[in-house]
């Protein structure tokens, strides 16, 4: 299952520009289409669509979050984090990295949101963290 675009689409192409895997095709001013084999279900198209024309895999219309800086952003609980880098690798836009300040050799290299502008709020980092050390905070950014 993947996200899909309804007939409400006017072909503004905003979703095409935000899709991290180029899964959306279509000409300007024509209805766009999501290639389900490529779509990774990040939901960025749904959050950005100004015409409420994207449905999630459950068939529900996605809710637009008008201001992108209000999209959910990850925060990291250093008490729980063990530095396993799963969140780093899970991020489709590569915007999570490990902190370069270390202190001493016992110090873990904790993850942080390095490129907040690239974050799409997909929550993959939170979903994949095996120890619940990542949570989403909409006030960040």
């Amino acid at each position: 299952m993947a996200y899909s675009i309804t007939h409400e689409c006017i072909g503004c192409s905003v979703c095409m520009r935000v899709c991290p895997v180029d899964a959306i095709i279509g000409k300007p001013k024509e209805r766009h289409r999501i290639v389900s084999e490529i779509c990774i279900d990040c939901g960025a198209c749904g959050r950005i669509c100004p015409h409420a024309s994207v449905k999630n895999p459950k068939g529900e219309l996605c809710e637009r979050i008008r201001i992108r800086s209000r999209w959910p952003k990850p925060k990291f609980d250093h008490q729980r984090c063990m530095g396993c880098t799963i969140c780093v690798e899970a991020c489709p836009t590569g915007c999570i990295d490990l902190k370069t300040d270390r202190g001493n050799r016992e110090t873990l290299r904790y993850p942080f949101l390095k490129k907040a502008r690239n974050c799409m709020g997909c929550t993959f980092c939170m979903l994949e963290c095996p120890v619940d050390a990542v949570y989403m905070d909409q006030r960040v950014g």
């Binding site: 063990m82 799963i86 780093v88 873990l108």
Partner: protein
Amino acid sequence: MNRSYMGKVLWVDLTTGRITTETIPDDLYNRFLSGNGLAAWLLYRRIPAGADPLGPDNILGFVSGVLTSSGSLFTGRWMVVGKSPLTGTWGDANCGGNLAPGIKGCGVDGIFFTGQSDRPVYLYADTKGAELRDAIHLWGKDAIETERLLVDEHGSKQRARVACIGMAGERRSLISGIVNHGGRLAARSGLGAVMGAKGLKAVVLCGSRRVHAYDPKAMKALSLACNEHVAFQPPFLNGTMTAYLGALMRMLPTQMKLDGMLYKIMLSKWGTVNQNQMAIEMGDAPVMNWKGSNRDFGLDKSKLIDPDEFTKPVVAKYFCYSCPLGCGGISLAPDGKTEVHRPEYESTIALGGLCLNEDANSIYYLNEMLNRAGMDTISVGGTVAFAIECFEKGLLTPKETDGLKLTWGNTDAIVRLVEKMVKREGIGDLLADGTRAAAARIGKGAEEMAIHAGGQELGMHDGRYDPGFALHNVVEPTPGRHTIGAYMYYEMFQLWREIPDLPDPALFYLKRSKYRANREKAAMGAACSQYMNVINGAGCCLFGALMGAHRIPLFDWLNAATGWKQTPEGYLVIGHRIQAVKQLFNIKQGINPKDIRVSKRVLGDPPQQEGANKGVTVPLEKLRRYYWSGMGFDPETGVPTSECLARLNLTI
């Protein structure tokens, strides 16, 4: 259905440039898992008999495990597979780093390369697909520089993971490996040379496809419970005390059954270098091309590789993907600015004690040089030690060594020699294909000093200390690997807690009992081989598994990730099946299992006159017969019997 494996593999024909996707039926995952297991089945059937390992018929595969990216811990290993040019057998190498999630992120469980490209290329793959791109601008560059350039090019808006070869692989050195994440190597089996021969400089994976486990809640519960064990880290001895602990273990006539938690604590504190001095003192680490002992590299000489001293330049722990332990270390290079990977135990001993090299800085320097060149530090150390002994015996003279005075512990000469090996220059060209090839070229009885099993230099664990290492060096389809089985591994795996039929060693036992060959030892060896195949099929790390089967829930993770209801015994049958296929691979390629031999010296023939392993001889032939018999192979020939194949449901 969510089942944690992707159900597809990618085939790339480097001769024609054609890229295709093959769907793998569920049944194959059921029978072989993923990783090495699935690859063994595919390559056994598709590499023609007698294929030239460096020719177009060989297949080079990069594979991830069933559990990679599924929410489990310790399961970020990737493996590279193919016919080894070093041994002529089934070849595989295993690495952590960050490539494994990249493979699955591209929607496949493995990427296999056939044919040979007439110009340097690299594979770029992402969520949409894959294509071959020109790599002329990268050819000749070292592995870390190559990775940096490719990440800069492809990683600005997505995560780019790179595996590539350095100069050694390009020059088809038979002891070259494949490099990932700034100097982590899939080093063994000489598969870097296969990549170089295929004209494939790098693999760049930018996929971000998610992996879905069958039961994510169960996966998380299991991972949280496992992490509790990993987080247990009480205060422990300092580095110097580990050496005295090793000395104490050497002096005692008895040995205690090892618990992996102790090793976990040491790994977490120091990384693999925790064993540097301890292993020398207790007789596990080979010294002076395997003819020396702790007497030749005592505490006065090994103090510079004291775990505390050796980790002083480390500024942060290094974690492979999905690892909660972090046994790696990011160190400052001698220039005080560049960050490099800290040498591992294997590299430290191979480039240190094995050559009687006391200079810790040179080990750091050589390790980084070899990481950049993409060369196996174990094999390089073994080959340098071999060259030094040849020089000592007069088989190599200054005329042949380009003026280098190859004496024990001559750090300058060792560094110069390794530089020449990387460049294949003069004497370096003679040695760049490992000890077996070098001994054949030198002749004059040099083979006696070439320490290898079936052509591959041995890991830094002495079979005279733990005969399990000696056994697995020769019975494994990839000879000379130290990461598959040993009696101490068996003790730490604690498989008897999950499979009550397996032997449970006594808490204390006499050391001399280790050298008895019997059915119990064979059962322990067979269980190690089978379990390691499951571990590799799952993409799990050996160090995680050493915590014990009751602490790392590998079987439960596999069931929760795939929805299977397999028993631990059932998983070992899968491991057994994988081992049988690898053995059949060797037989198909004309390898007689009985011809895989290890140098007599490492079996204590003749026995050492002093040191930790004094007077010890390993009854290898007897052990091997028991092992093969226990595996269902013919005890005399090592060929899987028809009953065994039928029992494993292997119709060939």
